[in-house]
Subunit: 343 residues, 2 copies
């Protein structure tokens, strides 16, 4: 049996998302135990209300009390120093104490990164954990890292991102040799800055299935499994996409509700529009992995609902089942010395 | 009267786009003259075929021969050294010789940047021209620069981008004091790297209507007129958006053609879908300005059709009408010495 600790109070929806997701996971995975961390009285009351869990899975659900909650806008420093009994911190402590195999939280990214790094520590050679998540593409998904934890990453760090990301994809999607590209502003060798060019040389000499430079549009229209970039750039790519998608979907909604005729057309097109929305549903892509820590931590989107949070829990389960953390530790140890240290 | 020189052979469609756009402009703007640069025999034949232009505007249309064409994949170095009689080069020469007030080309970006910089030279204090274009947002448009010409821009260069972009928006949209933001991966003061933080200090002390840090999603959902960033980051944001939009529109097309029922729904929804496409039509946003040169040069998208190319020509007309280049020269001269030179 494997056990996940859940920051039950984290995210915009707190228990409204985490509790139903947890119960859903218990019924889907008979080999998984869960520890809900947060306001124990409220959690117990809500569980009672839901008449859950069914007796068969009762022994696989534990509640651990934590008095504090990290706010969604709270600074990492405040979370670290003043919230030592927060649901986030206690959930991560459980991984450190080996009572849980992985932790999942919808709490704020900065606080989660800082707390996970402080409590669990990073693997030797890794300075800060990287954030890796997948995005939808035509006929599949593309993983991108780093999505914002590391700013100004030197070539050797980009190579670590590549190795960790490839191992993650192997765990989550069972791809034996994921294709890996470096994000650049053109595909020709002369494009990009000195960091990218030096990274390309490291990637070529590595054991990775390196396919060369990737332009940002190919995240969505190409066929590369993993796109590696500095955290600043990755974060911009991710947020630009979110904004553009929101604008497009906003335009669709506006045009279909313009008048009685367009509303009628919208009614008739509703099943199709629903299918489109489901295909692009970001909840299916929820669950970003914090890579490079001595323990599994999965970051769920702050606005995730129960469905979205369940996907994040599934990521945690797969990481543990496939021993992601020890695989990463082994892979990085085998790197030549010159590439395990920041250049 | 003002005169535009047109790289008539440039872009994926060459004369198929540039000729009809030119004739359209002549009929819309009685005060504008055009010089079509390219294969004179082919251009004359095509004009004859079209029975154009009408006699009233004949004296406002000139054809200048150029034997060569810069290929869409040709390197800037090859364009500069081996294509001295290309339609692109000759069109830019006409601006240098003051026979034209601005040049518009759909040719490849690298070659256009290099040729424009070589022939026209940059304004003192500017190393490379920056690329500025507008993107659609709910209820307006957001200008972004740099979109890929400058990699690793120091704070003083980012400030120049801000000043040039604000003047461009004033010219094109008549906004008196455009709001200006710096692209960052968070809105708090502690976010970003040292370059962004130093740039923020320069922006605060400048005459710009500076509104602070902007996250990439707010390019599409916010209300800031101008977003300033380094060229690498801007290019990634732009291409990520293009890719995401293409994927979303691809999913829409696929779902509406899935079977007879969805096709019928698509037929009924067609007017609405058409309106959505028109709203997001990138052709309306075509025409990126190369800023910082001693002359106006507008870059049209390589795949622009006649409608798209016409929008790029309109950008050139507005830049000239409002004296963009001399306004930029004046604004940069008035900068304190410490901010006109790269930090």
């Amino acid at each position: 049996m494997l056990t996940l600790s859940i920051d039950a109070m984290g995210g915009d929806r707190g228990l409204d998302a985490t509790l139903p997701a947890a119960l859903d996971i218990l019924s889907r995975h008979p080999q998984v135990g869960l520890i809900l961390v947060g306001d124990a009285r409220r959690i117990e009351a809500r569980l009672k209300e839901a008449g859950a869990p069914a007796s068969a899975s009762k022994d696989r659900l534990e509640v651990v009390n934590a008095d504090q909650v990290v706010g969604m806008d709270e600074s990492p420093a405040v979370a670290l120093r003043q919230k030592k009994n927060s649901s986030m911190r206690v959930a991560i402590n459980l991984v450190k104490e080996r009572r849980a195999d992985a932790c999942v939280s919808s709490g704020n990214t900065g606080a989660l990164l800082a707390t996970a790094r402080f409590v669990l520590k990073t693997i030797p050679g890794i300075d800060r954990p990287a954030i890796c998540a997948s995005l939808p593409r035509l006929g599949g998904r593309t993983y991108v890292l780093d999505l914002g934890a590391n700013i100004g990453s030197p070539p050797a760090i980009l190579l670590q991102f590549g190795l960790m990301g490839a191992l993650l994809i192997h765990c989550l999607d069972g791809v034996a040799k994921p294709s890996v590209g470096l994000l650049n502003i053109g595909v020709e060798d002369i494009k990009g800055n000195e960091t990218i060019k030096a990274a390309a040389e490291l990637f070529k000499r590595s054991s990775l299935n390196y396919v060369g430079y990737i332009e940002a549009n190919d995240i969505y229209t190409g066929d590369t499994d993993l796109v590696v970039c500095d955290g600043f750039v990755g974060n911009v790519a991710l947020k630009a996409t979110e904004g553009a998608a929101q604008m497009i979907m906003g335009a669709v909604a506006e045009e279909f509700t313009r008048n009685a005729i367009t509303r009628a057309a919208g009614l008739l097109a509703r099943p199709v529009l629903g299918r489109i929305r489901r295909r692009l549903d970001h909840r299916r892509y929820n669950g970003a992995s914090l890579l490079g820590l001595k323990g599994s931590v999965v970051k769920s989107h702050g606005s995730a609902d129960a469905t979205g949070f369940r996907y994040a829990l599934e990521v945690g389960i797969k990481e543990v089942n496939k021993n992601l953390v020890s695989n990463i530790e082994n892979a990085l140890t085998e790197l030549p010395e010159s590439t395990t240290l920041p250049a």
